[in-house]
Structure formats: structure tokens, C-alpha cells
Symmetry: D2
Subunit: 305 residues, 4 copies
């Protein structure tokens, strides 16, 4: 009764799996399972053999009795647990970038720089198995860190790493999307333009308003980008208590500004259209409200005069 | 010089393509190209033959001279342009749900209900070509609308539609993820639990705080869900003007609350751990600040006493 | 039984009162009551004599039966109903500015420009009856509009209007606070410094990030300002329905960036302290969480290595 | 040259003044100046005699050379530095409550409970010298703490403290405004109604969505409240660095939900009007955009069919 779906191979923890152990206070630990090995924490130790063969979603205890929940790590968990020497791209931003760059299986995307590989991870999972990520980084040791981060996840077949100062340009041509996660993205717009297919998706991420301003000026000045948008995503966590539902006390106030654009023919008139905010989707109700509101405002100004 | 990447088939608009025409004031129109056909707007008409063979990222004009930019539509554009009779899942939420449910090529996911198919679209693009979406809906005419929305996008091979009241349960077993987009998701937790693999990913989306409260109570009461989280994503658009950078005047204030959980063994102790907020990733700097702050607070309270 | 408090004069609408009529769809209208007069709307008319002598908080009907709730207008209502030709300072921002400039009865404050008088109104109500607002404006017709807006509210005794280009300086000295609501506030920092008392409160409000950047550079460069802070206030309205509580669909995304500083002795070392974010108040609980978090992060990084 | 304004008495720190010392890392300390006394910190000590007679806005050093900036504390500083055993009302919320309750010199306001006195402080400064705050609290030791907090600020003439379970009702009648800062405000609506003048301003503040729901149900059920609104204020701090302007890393995610209403005649039809969101002020531009948007939506749905 019930079709056995494909995902079943991850029902039970197996030797060589990268699993996650979660403590009651929500510390998360990634562990690669090896027969005979032991995992140590200051709350005690767990033999890997106790984990191998155990179904996910069950709690194990250290020899001193402290509990850990055994789970398959998600893309989000993996990004947050990457070893890093740089600021990572947050999962909420990575997910949205994947959407805005229109990435799915079969797409080709170029990114610079690689950083610790967090966005590379999200992009590789989005375009695999038929697409590819070309990831550029000028610091060899940084890219080596990213490679070591992503190798255990089986993602290397979908990624080509290149150590390169992208001032020299990208090797690819006609890719679907190009993303710049650099301190001065406006200096590399010619290279981004050159690597993109006609109509291709451009994106970038910068932490400061000054950088947004420089990048917008660069995109406008280049003449080959249209549909320029700047956005910011906020994630607000709640305390998940049914009889006292409320937002958490504190939250991340800012990760980065996101900038998106589309490549157009150089000098195309669309590159000179005045910047506009994409009309948000309006439900039938909201649309009606907007209309009433507009009418009201007119009426009011007459009525009050 | 430069490898020709795979995406090249979408460089130039071809007969049968679903293309997007964008006006200078950012209205977007989807058009399926047919030799000999004409596209009409109150600003004039364009012959499809003028579009076929034209590179993306260039502007065309109606016979009366009004310009439209020719682009390949993105997943975001497609979701926002769906014909719908219900509230859609916004792209920002769809992207984050895909991340939180850990969807990528090869994963199996069940959703209920189908609605207008916006989330189905995002999920299908995430799990294709090796995974699958099973989409349930109790209203046949609604699911028919979704099917008509997604058919032209070539996504039907990755989706199984079922007309069903999910009170009767899902057909699948051991799927990786289950998402409930229903008015009363708390009534279907037994069915969601049954369809998920051990450790599987549960998600839901509701517009009101009252529903969050009911769903949290249901998840707690069930005894087979852990790692319960409630989150809310806000997207703030900016006016992309380099010498007057500022947020837009108005924004969408709320789309939905997002609730996530993991399936655990029924009665597992992890289901009783007190709700906790996932520790956000802290940069080395922020971590140090948090520590200093904690110290300061202690010092201050002593100093001021 | 119960002391009769002072506010009783506003229990009942009286001739000459400025009252507010609110329709079921929340349009608000200010009406000055005059015996014998009539108020007209496209939903019918109401004779002022029906309103005079009526207690506030009761509904009256037009001759054609449309209802209006009779209320005393609040400071917020008055600001939002001002006749204006410029962007107003929103009530949420005006309230916070009053707090941050430390305004209360007896304080002296200088503002430029007057604009339509919205912030002037809030400041005058805050410092009256013993304090004073000096309001400068370069455009005579604008200040005349503000005067006409505030005269009916009885606030003129607490306000001195001056038509002046403040490049020429302010007339006052040693005032408690100075607020610049101008397009280029950084050009008038010398004048603001000169008018303030030692340690006085400086504030400004600008809509764009570019202006914030210029103003911060100006404040740093001047050498007589410390405790510089930049903040932004968002107001999120909810649909007040008990069984479907949720935020409104849309909200104002941005009104202005607020910048605050304190005057210090010219060249004082405090003007060179590196910018710092004011430590937010932490509840005992949050403080403990911050400390645990900081500890966790340390532990985790060790555990995962 | 230049009128000497009234605020001059706070130019120079004087014996008996409550002054604030700010360190380079933004710790703030309140000190009452006494000739001959010494202020100690783990960074050294400062003799009060060095502070007495010194102009505000200048830096002093401990005997070991650590600098502190001498400032007059603001209302915000005072609220944040209150000794407290309870959650305080944040300054941003206190400022907005003062505005929404329409408080200014001469107004009468009742609040319950007193808590640590933070909101009492803001209200007293708003209504003084001609108005009055009646502050109720059921726990005598709590009110005593508030009194000790506010006495040194000279605010006691404007406040009447009452130790009382407000289930027994308030002593006053016909006050302008009533604010409930209690765990279960919905249990005291009859008392709030009784104390308010016709059309009077009601407000409350609660941390959880569950409480908002209960309070909304209570207000609707009572039949004597109209114009019910629920709002939430967020304050986002920025790093005030001119060449790297960006929001701070973390912020307070939630302080409280704010609920406001107006007293109407019991059974007045306005109490049954369907809840509506106050129309936000729209600039002329935004109004035009809303109208265009509404038109667009209509046009689009036709065009795409």
C-alpha cells in the first residue's frame, strides 16, 4: 500500500554518510560515518557503529547520556556549517539568487569569487545533473577551501573551479547567468557582459549602500544592462510556542543588498529606460483596494478643499 | 576563444518559444511564438515573425512605435504571470521553501493543495530531471488550471497530479518532503507523517497568526515532529537610481508565515525538546561582539548598582 | 465617585472646535464647527448644529443616512491631514525625533525647513507651554502654508517662524536641539553647530542613502559632533481581526533615514571615536542567550575541527 | 548677536545634576554629581569636582587615562538606564504611544501597570507641566522601584502612583487616555472604558500574537471601542560609516505589538464597522502610481487572456 518513492536510500544512516547530530539546544554537528570510529564532544562520545544502520529522525545518546537527534543535513545546514574564512552568502539569499538567476537542471552559471563555496553549493545543487557552475577565485587557498568543503558532498562533477583574476576575463561564453560576489563588482561588468548569452541573467551581492551606488552607476554607464533591480531580503524567526507565539528577540538585521539585471544588446534603448520598480503581484483584493485608495485620495483632496 | 556553453539554445527566440515582452513601465507579457500570428496590445501590435529569429535582450516596436524588450521569462516571471483564482505562493517564499525542504534533482516531494501551480512550478524545476512532485488538490477545476499553467513549460513529466481529499491520505510513501498549503494544515498531520521518510522534511505556509498557533499545537501534539521553526521573509525593493538610492515607497507587508519541521520516530524524545530558535550563523566579528555585549551587560549592572 | 479630570472640556463637541469625522471605510475629514454651517460630502450633508453639543465617540448620519463617527483629532490625525505641497514627516518619525531630540516642556528647538509644518506641529506640542520652536524656511509661501496649517490648532504662541536662507545662520544661540529637514543638510553643519548649546541634540532626516553618506562625511569632517547614529523606523500595520490576525497586505516601505548626533567641543577627542552602534537594551534572558551563543560558537568551532 | 535661549542652564554640569558618561565603546553611565564624591569604574576613577563646572559635550579622563564623554542624558538614555526587574517599554514604542494617545501638556492619562516606570517617564515628560499621569500597579515593591527611578528626574509632581488591582477599577473619570501594559489587558476593558472620556484614547502593548487575538476579541465584544488598530514598530540601526554605510549586523526583532482604539458610546454602530486599515498617507506621486497600478492590473488580465 503506497508506492516506494526514490528517496529511500536516505532513510537509514549508512557508512560513509555525512550525517547531522542536533543537540536539545540546537547545536548542529556534521559527522562522516566510519565503522569503528568515535565522535567526541564535551558532553560525551558516540560510537559511529551506533549510528550506522539507525533510521534518521531518532535520538541517540552519548555514553554519558546526553541526547543528539540524528538527521540528514539539508542544503541550509550544509551552507551554515561550511568551514569559512570569509562572510558566507546566507541560505535565504542563496535560495533567492538561484531563483532570480533562473537556475535549474541544465543551466550554465559563472560565479566570482568562489569564497568558501556556500553559494557554489546552492548553485551546483540547482543546476545538476545537466548544468554546470564555473567558479572563479583569485586566491588559490580560498578556492582550495571551497573545494574541500564541496568534495564530500559529491558536487565536484558539476563545478569547474578556476583560479583567476577575472579582470582577465572568463573562459566561457554564452552562459545563462553570471554572479559577482566581489568587493568591487562594477570593475568587472565588461567581463560579465562578455560571458553572458543575449538576455542572460546578471546578479551581484554587496554589503554596503556605497557599493550598490557604484554598481548601479556602472550598470547604467555600461549600456548593455536593463531590468536593473535592487532588493533586500529579511528573515524574521519566531519563537515556535503555540500559546505564546511571537517573533524572536533578536534577528540578523542585514546580510547583503542583492542587485539583478539582464544583458541586452549594447546600446539597446531598454538600457536607458528610467529605472522602475517591478510591479508586485497584487491579489484581486489588493488590486481593488489600491483602486479604491487612489479614488479616495482624489475625493479627499477635493472634499477637504 | 571561449567554450560554447549549453545554454545557447535560448540565445535567439524561436517558433514555439514562450517569450516575455517588457514595456518601459515594466508591464510583462508572456507570448507563445507562432509563425504568422500577431500580438495585440492597446499600444499597437507586433507580428510574431518579427520576434522569431531575434536575439533575446533586444527591443522591438509595435507598428505604432511603442517599444517592448524581448526576454526569456524566468521562474519568477512565470510564477507571477500564472493564471490564478487563488493567492499564489510568492517567488521569494517559493525559493526559500525549495531550500528548506532540501529539494534538488532526484528528490521526491508531495504537496497539497496544488492551487494555481506556482509552488508546483518551483518544486518541479528544483527536482527535475530525476526527482518528482506529487501534487494533490481536492478541487478538480483548480488542478486543471494548474496543469494548463504548467503544461506549456514542459514540466508535466516531473509532476503527478492527483485530485483527492488528502484526509484520505497520500498514495506515496517515504518521500523526502511534504508541503501543506491548505487552510487547516493541522488536520492533515497524520497523513503528512505517513507519507514522509524517517527524518523527512515537513513544511507549511499560512497567512494568519491564528493558523500558525493551531499548526504549532498540532505539531507538538502529534509527537512525531521535531526541529519546528516558524519564519517570515520580507522582500524590500529599492529604487535603483545611483544618485538617489532609497527603498521603494511601498512594499508587500506580508505574504505568509512559513513553518518547517522534521519527521522523527513517533514518541522520540526530540519531539519534546523545548522549542528553540536556530542559532543564526555569526561571523567571527559578530560572535566577538555578542560576547563583549554579554560581558558589558554584566559589568554595567554591577557598575550601576 | 471618581475625580473629574481636566480633559473634560473635550468630552463634547463645541462651537469652534476642530473635529474629525470618520467614515466606515476610514476616510477622515477635519471640520471646524460653526453654528448654522453645513458640511458637504458626496455621501450627503450634515448640519454643524447636529454636531455641536454632541459627545465625542458617537456616530452621526448625513441627511441621506451615511454614518460618520465624531472624534477629537489626534496629533497623528492632524499631521496626516495637513495641507501640503511637500513630503511630510510621518507621525512615527516625528514621534521618535521628539524623543531623540529630548524635547519636553521648556526646551528650545530650531528646525529648518518648516515645510508644511508637520514636524513643527509635533515639536510645538512637545515643548509647550514653556518651550519654543524656531522654524526657518527659505520659501515664504511654504512657511505661510505651515502657519495657516498650525494657526487653527492654537500653536502659534509656541512657534517663531522665520523666512531665511539658513546659510546666513540662525538668530538663536544655545538652543537644546536643532533639526535639519533639508535636501543638503551637510552644507549647514556650521550653522547647526553655532546655534546649539554645548552637548546639544542634532538631528536630520533624509530620504536617500547618498544623502546619509554625505551627511555622515560632513559630521565626521566638522569635528564638533559625536555620538553619531543612523536609524530607520518601520511601521507595520496588522489587520485587526481576532480570528484572522495577520499583517496588512502592503505597507510603507520607507519614509526616511534618521541621523542623530550630539554637539561636542570642537576638536574634542570624542568626535574621533570610531562609530559604534549603541548597545541595545538586553533583557536578562536575551543577555544570557547572547552569552550562551557566544560560548556555543566557540565550542562548535572547536568541535567541528 | 543671537538671543540667549532658555536651555542655557544645562550648558554646564552642576552639583546635583544627573549626568551621563559615555565610553568610546558606548557604555553609558548615569552619575549624580556631588561635590567631593568619586565615580569608580574598572577603567579608573573620576572626581565629581572635575565634572562640576565643566561644559557638556567634552571628554574627561579617569586617573588612569581612560576617556568618557560628559553629556546630559536624554529621555531615551534615562529609559534605557532605569533599574528594572521587568521588561521595559522600548523608547521607540514609548515615543509612538505618546503620539497615538495624543499626549501633550495638559492631558490626563491613566496607565496600568507601572512596571519599572519607563513609559511613565515618557508620559510624564509629555503631559507636564499642566497634565498628569495616574499610574497603577498591583505589586507595591515594583511601584516603589518606579518611584525611586523617577524621583531623581523631578517628575513626581506630574505622577500619582496608586497600588491597586485595577480589577477594582480606577479612581479617575473622563481622562483623555488609558494605557494597559498588563499580561491580560482584555480582562480590564470595562475598567478602561469607565475611566475614559467619550472619544478617549485607549492603548495597550503585548508581546505575543495570542494576546493580540484575545485583546481584539475583547475590544470587539465590549461594544464600546472603535477605530481599533494593531501596529508594530521596528527600529533598524545602521553602521554610521560614510564610506561603508550599511545596516548593523543584528537588531532587536520584536519588542511588542501595539494596539490602539477609541472609546465610543456603548452600542454605537461605529463599534461594529468592519476592521479597516487606516489609509496611509500617500504622496501625490504614490497616489498616481497606485492608480496606474490598479489600471495596469486590469489591462494585463485582459491582455493576457
Amino acid at each position: 500500500m503506497g508506492h516506494q518513492a526514490k528517496g529511500t536510500e536516505v532513510r537509514i544512516a549508512q557508512e560513509n554518510d555525512l550525517v547531522m547530530l542536533v543537540s536539545p539546544d540546537r547545536r548542529r554537528h556534521l559527522v562522516r560515518l566510519r565503522a569503528g570510529a568515535e565522535w567526541h564532544t564535551h558532553r560525551g562520545r558516540i560510537r559511529h557503529d551506533e549510528l550506522i544502520g539507525r533510521p534518521f529522525g531518532s535520538t541517540v545518546h552519548t555514553h554519558s547520556g546526553y541526547p543528539y537527534l540524528l538527521l540528514e543535513p539539508s542544503t541550509q545546514d550544509l551552507i551554515l556549517q561550511l568551514k569559512r574564512t570569509t562572510q558566507i552568502v546566507y541560505p535565504k539569499d542563496a535560495a533567492y539568487i538561484v531563483l532570480r538567476l533562473n537556475l535549474f537542471s541544465g543551466r550554465q552559471v559563472v560565479e566570482a569569487g568562489t569564497g568558501s563555496g556556500g553559494l557554489t553549493l546552492a548553485m551546483a545543487r540547482a543546476v545538476m545533473p545537466e548544468g554546470h557552475v564555473y567558479s572563479y577565485e583569485v586566491r588559490p587557498e580560498m578556492q582550495e577551501l571551497a573545494r574541500r568543503n564541496l568534495e564530500p558532498l559529491g558536487l565536484l562533477p558539476y563545478i569547474t573551479f578556476r583560479v583567476r583574476d577575472i579582470a582577465e576575463g572568463f573562459d566561457e561564453r554564452d552562459v545563462d547567468a553570471c554572479f559577482l560576489d566581489l568587493r568591487t563588482p562594477w570593475e568587472y561588468l565588461a567581463q560579465a557582459y562578455e560571458v553572458l548569452k543575449p538576455g542572460g541573467f546578471f546578479g551581484s551581492l554587496v554589503p554596503t549602500a556605497n557599493q550598490v551606488i557604484e554598481l548601479l552607476a556602472g550598470l547604467e554607464g555600461h549600456g548593455g544592462f536593463a531590468e536593473i533591480e535592487v532588493e533586500e531580503l529579511s528573515l524574521r524567526p519566531y519563537k515556535p510556542v503555540p500559546d505564546r507565539l511571537r517573533p524572536a528577540d533578536r534577528m540578523v538585521a542585514h546580510t547583503a543588498y542583492l542587485i539583478f539585471a539582464r544583458k541586452v544588446a549594447l546600446g539597446d534603448e531598454a538600457a536607458t529606460w528610467r529605472p522602475a520598480i517591478r510591479k508586485p503581484y497584487l491579489s484581486r483584493l489588493a488590486r481593488q483596494e489600491a483602486m479604491e485608495e487612489a479614488e479616495d485620495s482624489n475625493t479627499e483632496s477635493e472634499a477637504s478643499s
